[in-house]
Symmetry: C2
Subunit: 575 residues, 2 copies
């Protein structure tokens, strides 16, 4: 249900979404739940774009309620289809329009705009729903023998066209059956799961380890990307995902302790040791390969004790971006333990968050002005700690001490709670706003501290060069050597190709500014053209050597992933 507004109430879509519709594919979040912006945020957006309430009286965009239908014949032979049916079961091979489209796109705005326009391209010829590791190993073996392109669909939240089936073939939809616990080891604090295990199911399993496994304690996976609800463990590993609590729990590459892959040249099983000196780390060679070397089947993750009672929430307001950055750097370099959520917003994001959370209607507004803090300069820092009680307390104390030293105003934990409340559901706003032609997307990169201000300035400058465009920025994965910068941009656009050009311009700006092309979204096919130019020719040649080893016929996620199989002319800014 949309919230009740005091003044004008826009025509937020709240109807039922037909089961076989385009909208059922592109909508983010629970199909029965509609999220609309808080009134003050609506007004801010309306004013930002120089619009009036009139614009929000009716939809400017296709709602995507039509049934999915298109005319793209598949290229698999009946014998091939029959073989797949034999491998996974007759009911678990689908070739209908809906099944094929439902695994073809991810969740970048370019995907969503195409789906709204019913622009169907790059669907697989068939979708398979495997049940076991052995089935997947046989599928990969067969695809290698028959040279059938093979794609994998885990949680479906890719924002890099990572899952798009550019060359047809088959896609393995892991959601239906390949999502089980393989083993749980309380002594070693690890769990092994099938790659299609979803984030929420894993977390629920671990939180209830006592009843599920007779464990002594409850556990957590500690990994909560914003896409949590629509993410899979396998997707986390192959794209180098990071969770919102990564500053304490680590990025996925710290959490994964072993993996099994089915590749065209045979199966790979990495060891499960916490550390070793037995040659290059094979887990790290496979992670980040985004389905181009093989299909990830089993994943062993380290798990952590679930101690929600030890959490200490905090939030502070800093005078300006430079002061806030210095404080953040001091906190993360001070060796007082790392907070779990560590989120610092730039002035534009701060302003919008304060409206969204209703802080600008509270007495805090007066406090800011009494201290001389200005709404277009000040920066919100929020987070919470995890860990054993004493560790968590000391960590929060350390944050407090440093924040005060940098003139931060303490805002209690309430702002943090508001953020937590929306942490997974904020993307739900996207579809609601887009019905009126307002598109919202994100882009992120990694930056060292010494380059932070410049990257922020350069990327923002490009985004803001487009008229009436909002650009909110924060850091949310923080390290002693630097942090990510996460840009959320909101603009008006109708044409997916025009939007893609704007998106490309942001990637250009990230590359030119000296940041890493991606902190945790991966590269996929959408960012592929930038990769070689960014990491270097000799460095990219290492990936190509591995690709050639694992997949000599280029059947694994082909079509530009990680910049493989691109023509020279399509690569951006080669050094």
């Amino acid at each position: 249900m949309a919230p009740r507004y005091k003044q004008f109430e826009p025509k937020w879509f709240s109807g039922k979404i037909p089961a076989n519709s385009y909208r059922s594919i592109f909508k983010w979040g629970d199909p029965n739940k509609i999220k609309a912006p808080r009134e003050s945020l609506y007004q801010l957006i309306r004013d930002q774009f120089g619009l009036s309430d009139d614009t929000f009286k009716d939809y400017s965009e296709n709602l995507g309620l039509d049934e999915v239908k298109y005319n793209l014949p598949g290229n698999l032979s009946p014998a091939q289809i029959a073989h797949f049916q034999e491998l996974v079961g007759r009911d678990f091979v689908r070739t209908d329009d809906y099944a094929r489209l439902s695994v073809a796109y991810g969740k970048t705005m370019y995907d969503i705009m195409r789906l709204r326009h019913q622009k169907v391209e790059n669907v697989p010829d068939a979708v398979l729903y495997p049940d076991t590791k052995e089935q997947i190993e046989k599928i990969v073996e067969y695809c290698a023998a028959e040279k059938i392109p093979l794609y994998v669909y885990g949680g479906g939240s890719s924002v890099t066209c990572g899952v798009e089936c550019v060359r047809g073939g088959i896609s393995l939809d892991l959601r239906l059956r390949f999502n089980k616990v393989v083993s749980f080891n309380e002594i070693d604090q690890t769990i092994t799961v099938e790659a299609g295990m979803s984030g929420p199911k894993l977390e629920e399993t671990l939180n209830n380890a006592q009843t599920k496994f007779g464990a002594k304690r409850a556990y957590t996976c500690g990994h909560f990307p914003q896409s949590f609800e629509y993410s899979s463990v396998g997707g986390w590993a192959v794209t180098h995902s990071s969770g919102q609590n990564s500053t304490y729990y680590g990025d996925i590459q710290d959490i994964v302790k072993g993996q099994d892959y089915a590749t065209p040249v045979g199966n790979i099983s990495t060891d499960r040791y916490p550390s070793k000196a037995t040659g290059p780390d094979i887990d790290q060679i496979m992670m980040g390969s985004e389905g181009t070397f093989g299909v990830l089947t089993h994943v062993t993750l380290k798990i952590f004790r679930h101690m929600p009672k030890t959490i200490k929430r905090f939030s502070y307001m800093f005078k300006d971006w430079e002061t806030a950055q210095s404080a953040a750097r001091e906190i993360i370099q001070s060796e007082g333990g790392h907070p779990s959520v560590f989120r610092l917003s730039d002035p534009e994001e701060t302003s919008i968050m304060l409206h969204n959370y209703g802080v600008m209607d509270s007495p805090l507004k007066l406090l800011f002005s009494s201290k001389g803090f200005k709404i277009n300069e000040m920066c919100l820092y929020l987070g919470f700690t995890n860990g054993e009680a004493g560790f968590s307390r000391n960590c929060a104390k350390n944050v407090h001490r440093i924040a005060k030293r940098y003139g931060g105003i303490w805002l209690s934990g309430i702002v943090t709670k508001s953020w937590e409340h929306g942490r997974f559901s904020d993307p739900d706003l996207r579809d609601t706003l887009q019905d009126f032609g307002i598109v919202m997307d994100t882009m992120e990169c990694t930056v060292n501290w010494s380059n932070m201000s410049q990257v922020h300035r350069d990327v923002r400058a490009f985004v803001k060069s487009r008229p009436n465009t909002v650009c909110m920025t924060h850091m949310s994965h923080v390290y002693p050597q630097g942090a990510n910068l996460y840009f959320i941009f909101i603009t008006r656009e109708h044409d997916p190709e025009e939007f893609k050009r704007f998106h490309a311009g942001i990637l250009d700006a990230i590359q030119k500014s000296g940041a890493a092309m991606s902190h945790h979204h991966g590269i996929g096919k959408l960012f592929g053209p930038w990769l070689e130019g960014s990491i270097g020719r000799n460095e990219h040649a290492i990936y190509r050597a591995l690709k050639k080893h694992f997949d000599p016929d280029n059947i694994m996620n082909p079509g530009g992933t990680l910049g493989f199989d691109l023509e020279e002319k399509d690569k951006r800014f080669l050094k």
Copy 2:
């Protein structure tokens, strides 16, 4: 000087070591310093081996005081020598016997025994002393063109025959000139150094960052392998080294933030971002390659604040090995922050340490017996914490709380200080004892908690199957998922080949018991035969694919490193 004994004083060697002698190459530690065991330790060893004082009245082994001299002609042409002289300077190419032998061996007992026997084999044809990264890049390019085998000598402390020049060619001795700071970045808390930078020089540089770089603070590298004094930063990275403080500071793979390599197919420079999602981690692909892909030239390391005043030392005695393991696991899994040094000894090691540190002559002995602890069962746990004062204090408090819960007897920080005192100089004892035919070496592996008791039992059983053999075991690099097990074995042996067979038997036992073949010693040529059998055929094929890419003519550290270029018959226990 040898210590003064109350009873019999063995004839510990304390003469001057001639500059060009074999002993000057194999001796561990300062050539002018002799370390002899404390009297109680001497007596323990004497009795353990069923010897009398008579054995220690004169040496049974060659002292290695002769001048190095042998007859192994080099295979480089005069034109090649001249070209190298042009590249690095005439004075920095040496072909004399001493220079060649001085970089041919590492510090495993097999190396030392061969040197004592004046068994010279596998020396390089020439030794080069490069000064700059550009020189090394040109050397690699030239060696690739001329197919000249290329080896690298960093600190010289390899215990895996990692530096041995099995195919002749050249060795780059980095110690002389390639040991400078390239850049220091206090904002990002990183330092970039040449690969030949020694551990002590790096640490001294960072501790004095204020005077050397005008920094605001003093820093530490946090990386102190037992070989610290004879180790190089490049050696750390290419062999996956771990320092004694790794439980807090991380293993070298956590500390390295960027690397440059010169390879036969061109130069590689990895990015310097703290994390990213831009394909497989190239730093991790290169680390652990042990000179087989290319020569590591520049290394960027994360650095930490130097806060020696916040250290909290602790030591506890546990009743037995099972209790001690449970306590250690609880400490590391409790999320109260990780201690920095975290060292748990098994009963045999505990007994010897207590003698070595004089604890068995102190009133503590009575305390143990009053609690019913038995000398051949109890286990010593010691360590210290690092980090910000509150973090460090909480961490020690957490250790105390858990140790008490498992019935640990608090021993104050004195035992830890004794350990610290000898932490880098204990290997000095090796040469002193070996003069009487007593050899001492180490082997280590990684184990998950759930397999800890079995690996300990199996490997010990093999070592102890040799009559009169000491086997001391500890864990010293500890993770929530497991730890290393480090075996120190002392036995009587004269023949290097017989010793090597015993050594191989221990590697067999490690592999069969299900542990990783190496936690931080690397693989080199000595462990090479076990690698493929241990990690698997398809997994080892990934290394071979990378090897083929970087070094198609097999000139980089050839001769069995990482199990490359071995015949099938030489591989152990292939699955």
